[in-house]
Symmetry: none
Subunit: 129 residues, 2 copies
């Protein structure tokens, strides 16, 4: 997901108009429109005021955004790829689950084996679906 898509998502999620966010954030309407269409990028300072307008931290605002060369989306975690390749255990796992699972990590550490991934998958599935 690109940054400008994220920005539009946040606003439409809340059912706000450009005018509303513009007034809250103190940013002009045309510029907001430009940002949401990817015509230009916000400075870090503008990012902060936008995050504040949506009551988010900058980190949370950026969390779903894939930057070019992001380590996480270039390759699947090792064991997860194995799980997906396993027709019986992982053959039916959908792409949204893959992207959800791919984000799991603690200080750069991740599950290693396909069994571990499967275990996590089943546990999350039980709770989230």
């Amino acid at each position: 997901m690109k940054l400008h898509e994220r920005l539009r998502e946040l606003r439409s999620e809340r059912g706000q108009r450009l005018k509303d966010v513009s007034e809250i954030a103190g940013i002009s309407i045309p510029y907001l429109s430009d940002l949401e269409r990817g015509r230009t990028n916000p400075s870090l300072e503008t990012l902060q005021t936008l995050a504040a307008a949506y009551d988010l931290s900058v980190n949370d605002l950026l969390a779903p955004v894939e930057f070019y060369g992001d380590a996480s989306d270039s390759a699947l975690p090792k064991g997860l790829a194995d799980l997906l390749a396993d027709p019986v255990l992982g053959g039916h796992i959908t792409p949204d689950w893959v992207s959800s699972l791919s984000r799991i990590e603690l200080r750069g550490k991740r599950p290693q084996t396909k069994e571990d991934w499967y275990d996590i998958y089943r546990n999350l599935k039980r709770i989230l679906e």
Copy 2:
């Protein structure tokens, strides 16, 4: 922690010189120095190349950085905040775990109750630690 402190931290952690990072990232030495002293802020694009130079995602680079008006607590998923407030179940959960758990979602959906969060936490902890 300010962004410029974070940048200096990353470089000194790795024992690199301005020259080293400069060559890896393709950024001039004086400008790197400026960034690390807070004389100027990087553009989002420069942030990405810096994150790549340190082999981090942009989110991980920014994770310890406190922006003005950070509202990270308000962005915590509902039940997760409850879990953290629970002294016996969640009192000992560390910040890196919180940020790790916060990323869990499927198509915008997340665990709702503190019991669900705790269940996931224990399951992940067993595998990741």
